[in-house]
């Protein structure tokens, strides 16, 4: 399980994450929702110890990420951007990560098969398409067969068959008793994938609720999300009724 308590991160004058607290429980997929720039990726980076929080902390199975004994066996992660060297083959990339946590080569081949990259395992990862890169990232996350998964926009670049595949995979991983946190701004995907939702806006918690509860008061989950985040959305295109007037305040980034 993941416990986030009072997590706060400032980048210069910007408060990216603002006293954020929530738990990600085992046995369910928790959707992590927020508009662009709402602090989802920063929160993930803070949980994974890539960035240091200014206040608060995040714990995985009771420990801070940097104190995990076998990080890949305790928490698997996939962040939004590519995280592999383009000159290295998919297999060697995973073999290197596996070695750091005492994971066997057999498991490397196993996850390559699981994500559908067995045929491309010896190709240089720099030649991969976006979707293949995502699959390689997912393979790395699954390498240690961890009880906790943190995935930032995992469906990015996947084709419809790939999206369904990853949805089924994540649901079955959660059903096995794992805590799965999946960020996305695709509400329709979340409606199909998640049971629980954590919604943030401008780094603050807006909702920590079940999908059923959140969509109950509105015509759809999308409608409920938009109502909830309206006041805290920073980057927004003009609405149809606004088009003749460009607000100086909104036009400014």
């Amino acid at each position: 399980m993941i416990e986030v308590s009072d997590l706060t991160k400032r980048y210069g004058p910007t408060l990216a994450v603002d006293a954020l607290s929530f738990d990600v429980r085992p046995g369910a997929v928790t959707g992590f929702l927020g508009a662009n720039g709402s602090g989802k990726s920063t929160t993930m980076r803070l949980i994974l110890g890539l960035d240091a929080p200014d206040a608060g902390e995040a714990r995985i199975g009771g420990r801070r990420f940097r104190d995990l004994r076998w990080p890949l066996r305790e928490a698997g992660s996939l962040l939004e951007a590519r995280a592999f060297h383009p000159g290295r083959s998919a297999r060697e990339h995973l073999a290197a990560l596996a070695a750091s946590n005492g994971i066997s080569r057999r498991r490397v081949d196993e996850v390559l098969g699981l994500v559908g990259l067995a045929g491309a395992a010896r190709r240089r990862a720099g030649k991969f398409s976006l979707g293949m890169g995502q699959r390689l990232g997912l393979a790395a996350a699954l390498l240690g067969d961890p009880p906790v998964l943190l995935l930032d926009e995992p469906v990015n670049g996947l084709d419809p068959a790939g999206i369904r595949w990853i949805r089924d995979l994540l649901k079955s991983l959660a059903a096995e008793g794992r805590a799965v946190l999946v960020s996305s701004h695709l509400i329709s995907e979340m409606a199909l994938l998640a049971e629980h939702l954590v919604v943030i806006g401008q780094g603050r918690l807006l909702a920590d609720t079940s999908v059923a509860q959140m969509s109950a008061g509105s015509s759809s989950l999308e409608e409920a999300f938009l109502e909830l985040t309206e006041s805290s959305t920073q980057y927004r295109g003009a609405r149809p009724q606004d088009t003749p007037v460009i607000s100086a305040k909104e036009g400014r980034r």
Partner: protein
């Protein structure tokens, strides 16, 4: 949950695991082997060329045969920089830290693996250059023997310099993080700065890495009095030079490690 966590074995990841990861990373890039092959080839080619053109039998023939060490070091130092900075430019650092979040341990593993490889390649380059450069001597000049005074020390320390300059570069890579900027600083600091120092401050020039390698490590006997524009320059001894290079590498790694542990990745 308990069933899942029970599968995590006892103990924890350590230096051995991190070093194995870094070794797989280093060896699985073709550029590593190309760079090292060119390093050795360049050192030998220059040693042979100097050997062929040597006419003075009374000069330091060992130093002549090792003339390719300094140019070859350039490639090793670039590789040292990239070992660290390519983690950032490719985004690999996120995967690396997700697997091994202890940053001091990670840098130690990287330094140990790269240092060992640079040492092995450096010794190969030095010994082959020494024998090839000696064999290339003409004009009836006899090749120097390893048993001669100071010869084995010069050849061995030349090889060690690859390791130490490579680690200095790796440490600077950890400090600067950006490949282009870090390569510029290493090349500028190691190769250009001594030239400037030579013209403005002779006294300090002898402490520059490249001067240490060229005049203290790769020589069989210290030049009694250097010939820099009529001024007498006292080069440091071979062992003092080795200590200084080691100190520079240690300082770069310590500062790099300190920043690595404190900065957001």
């Amino acid at each position: 949950m308990t069933a899942l966590t029970a599968r995590v074995p006892a103990g924890r990841y350590g230096f051995r695991h991190v070093a194995r990861m870094e070794w797989i990373k280093l060896r699985s890039l073709r550029s590593t082997w190309w760079t090292l092959a060119i390093t050795v080839a360049a050192a030998i080619a220059i040693g042979v060329t100097v050997g062929i053109n040597t006419r003075n039998a009374n000069g330091d023939l060992t130093n002549n045969a090792l003339a390719g060490i300094i140019p070859a070091l350039l490639l090793t130092s670039v590789l040292g920089v990239l070992t660290m900075t390519s983690e950032y430019s490719s985004g690999m650092i996120r995967s690396t830290l997700a697997a091994a979040p202890s940053r001091p341990l990670l840098l130690a593993g990287k330094a140990a693996v790269f240092g060992a490889l640079a040492l092995a390649v450096g010794e190969a380059a030095s010994f082959i250059s020494f024998f090839a450069g000696g064999a290339a001597l003409r004009h009836g000049i006899a090749a120097p023997a390893l048993t001669g005074p100071g010869v084995l020390r010069a050849v061995l320390l030349s090889g060690v310099s690859f390791c130490l300059v490579g680690l200095l570069a790796l440490g600077l890579g950890a400090v600067i993080r950006h490949s282009g900027a870090a390569i510029a600083v290493v090349v500028g600091g190691v190769y250009v700065l001594p030239t400037i120092m030579a013209s403005v401050a002779h006294g300090l020039g002898v402490y520059m890495p490249i001067i240490i390698i060229g005049n203290s490590l790769t020589t069989t006997k210290p030049e009694p009095c250097g010939s820099h524009g009529g001024q007498c320059v006292h080069f440091v001894s071979a062992w003092a030079g080795l200590g200084l290079l080691g100190l520079y590498a240690a300082v770069a790694l310590a500062v790099g490690g300190w920043l690595f542990a404190r900065r957001d990745a």
